[in-house]
Point group: C2
Chain length 324, copies 2
C-alpha cells in the first residue's frame, strides 16, 4: 500500500482544513450558511425536474410514481447547480442549461436507485427515506432506473440550444456515465474491490470514475451549453474532474465521521462492506488533506474568470467542507 497517491504529488502540501484566504473563498464552519443562490438554483432545478418528468398519472403510473419519488427524495442538486453555474460564467441566461442540468440529475438518481438494489449495495435507506426498491419493489426500481437513464438522454435531445451543442453534451454526459472511465465502470470496479486489498491506483480509478466523471460532465455540459470556447471547456472539465474527486474523498470521510441521522443514509457502511476508501487507505487526517489539496487545485483552474466564477468557487468550497 502506498503512502500517497502519486498524482497528488504536484499539489501543495497544505495539511489543514482551513481554507486558503488567498483564494478569496468564504469559510464555512460545520454549521455553514449557504449563499442564497444555492437555494435559488435549487428551486429553479426542482421546477424544471417537475416539468420534464412524466406526471404520476401518466400510464403506466407505477413507474412514473417511483421515478418522481426518487428524484424528489431530497437531493441537494449539486450536479445541476454546478451545470448552471458553469454556464453562468459565459451567459446571463442559464435557463437553456436546465435541460442538461436535469438530465444529469436523472442519471445521478438512476445510479442511486440501481446501486441501492439488493444485488448491489442492498441499502434500505437513502436520504432518510426508504430506497426505491423498498418502497416499490425490485422490478419497478430496476425499471424506474432504466426509465430515468433513458429520459436523461431524451431530455438532452430536447435542449433549447443548437444541435451541435446538444450532440457535444450528449457525448460528454454519455461517456461520463458509461463503463470506460465512467460512472458504471467505477461502480463495477467498486464492487470488484470489496473485501480485497486495493492499491492506490485502483482506489483513484474508482473515485474518478464512479463520482468525479459525472461531476466533471455537469460542469462541462454547462460550458458547452453556453457555447464556451474549447479552451474554456477544457479548463472547466479539469475543474469538474478535480472537484468531483475531492467530493468523493469527502464522502468517504463523512461515512466515517458522521452519524446515519446526519447523512440520511447508513453511516459506516464502507467499513462494514470493506469498501475501498480514502480513510481506509490513508487515514482520516491525510484524507482531509487530500480533499483540501484537490479543492485548491480545482479552484486554481477558475482564476481566469475572477468574479465571474465566484459562485462556482463557493460550491467547490462547500463540496469539501460540507458535513452531510
Amino acid at each position: 500500500m502506498e503512502s500517497s497517491p502519486p498524482s497528488l504529488s504536484i499539489l501543495s502540501g497544505r495539511a489543514n482544513r482551513d481554507p486558503d484566504p488567498a483564494l478569496g473563498a468564504p469559510y464555512f464552519p460545520s454549521t455553514m450558511k449557504l449563499s442564497s443562490f444555492f437555494e435559488e438554483d435549487r428551486l429553479m432545478v426542482d421546477a424544471a425536474l417537475d416539468r420534464l418528468l412524466p406526471a404520476e398519472s401518466a400510464q403506466p403510473s407505477s413507474v412514473h410514481t417511483a421515478m418522481r419519488y426518487s428524484v424528489f427524495a431530497g437531493g441537494k442538486r449539486m450536479r445541476p447547480i454546478l451545470c448552471l453555474e458553469s454556464a453562468r460564467i459565459f451567459t446571463a441566461d442559464v435557463t437553456p442549461a436546465l435541460h442538461s442540468a436535469c438530465a444529469i440529475e436523472f442519471i445521478h438518481t438512476y445510479s442511486l436507485i440501481h446501486d441501492d438494489l439488493p444485488a448491489l449495495d442492498n441499502d434500505d435507506l437513502r436520504r432518510g427515506k426508504p430506497t426505491c426498491h423498498k418502497k416499490f419493489g425490485e422490478a419497478i426500481a430496476i425499471l424506474a432506473g432504466d426509465g430515468l437513464l433513458t429520459l436523461a438522454f431524451e431530455t438532452i435531445g430536447a435542449a433549447p440550444v443548437p444541435p451541435e451543442r446538444r450532440v457535444a453534451m450528449l457525448s460528454e454526459i454519455a461517456s461520463a456515465a458509461g463503463t470506460v472511465n465512467g460512472m458504471v465502470g467505477g461502480q463495477v470496479a467498486d464492487i470488484e474491490a470489496e473485501r480485497k486489498p486495493v492499491d492506490a491506483k485502483t482506489l483513484e480509478y474508482i473515485h474518478r470514475s464512479k463520482t468525479a466523471a459525472l461531476i466533471r460532465a455537469s460542469v462541462t455540459a454547462g460550458a458547452l451549453c453556453a457555447g464556451a470556447p474549447p479552451d474554456d471547456v477544457a479548463r472547466l472539465r479539469r475543474f469538474g474532474e478535480t472537484i468531483g474527486w475531492a467530493f468523493q474523498v469527502t464522502d468517504d470521510i463523512l461515512d466515517v465521521e458522521e452519524s446515519s441521522a446526519a447523512l440520511g443514509k447508513t453511516a459506516g457502511k464502507d467499513l462494514a462492506q470493506q469498501k475501498a476508501t480514502y480513510p481506509a487507505m490513508y487515514g482520516l487526517e491525510r484524507s482531509h488533506e487530500i480533499a483540501r489539496e484537490l479543492a485548491t487545485k480545482a479552484i486554481s483552474e477558475l482564476s481566469p474568470y475572477a468574479e465571474r466564477a465566484a459562485r462556482l468557487r463557493e460550491i467547490a468550497e462547500y463540496l469539501v467542507l460540507r458535513r452531510t
Copy 2:
C-alpha cells in the same frame, strides 16, 4: 373481453396465413430460406457491434465481458437490419446508419438482460444460453444493462452524420425506449398485467410499447440517418410501428406453438406467468389473422417505393412467418 381490437377494423378481412400474391412478397414456408442480404447485413452489423463495444480487456473487464456475452449471444439482428434497409431506400451507402443500427441493438440487448433478472421474468435461458445474470451474477448483469443503454446513446452521439440528424435519431430512439408509450413503459404494463384480466386496449398498449416502439424507431432512425424528407420519415414510422406490432403478436404465437429448443428460450412461459397475450385473448387462429393483417397494412405503406423497398418488404414477411 372484446372479440377483436377496434384499431384492426380498418384492415382487410383476410383470414389465412398465405401471403397475398398481389403484394408481390415472397412466400416463406416454415423452413424458409432467407435472402442473402439478411446474412450480408448481419455480418456488417456484427462487425460494427464488435468495433463499437469496449474490448473485454478494457477495465473493468467483468462488465465488458458481460456486455459482449449478451450482445453476441446469437440475436437475429432484426432491428439493425430494419434500420439499414430503411436507410437503403434513400441512399446507396448505408454504413453511416450502422451507428444507429448498433445503438438500437444495444438497447434491445440491455432490455433482455434486465427483463431476464430474477425480480422481473426470472429466466435462466436466452437464445439457448445461460442468461447474463446466471453467467455473471445479478450485480454485473444490472450494470452491464446500464452500460449498454448508456453506450447506445454515446454511439448515436458519434454517428458520422450531421448533428441535426443525430439529434433527430436521439429523440426518436430515446422516446421509443422510454416509459411513456415506449419500451420500459410496456415492460411495466406487462408486469402489472400478470395474473389479472386485461382488456384489449391494455393488451394493445403493452405490445405497441414493449416491442413495436423500438422496431418503429429502428426503421425511422434509418430514414432519418439517410436524410429522408419528413413525409417519408412519417410513412416509414407507420410501417415500423405496424410491423413491430405484428412481430410481437407473432412472438406470442410462437411461445404457444414452438418448443423451447426451437426458440432457444423457455416456451410456454407466457401461459405459465399468465401474461397478457394475443393467443390468450383471441385464440391462435385469430392471432394468426391479426399478425397477417398487420403485416399487410405495414407493407402497404411501402408501395410508393416499389422495388427500392423490396428488402424491407421481405423482412416484414419474414417477421410474421418466422418459426423462431
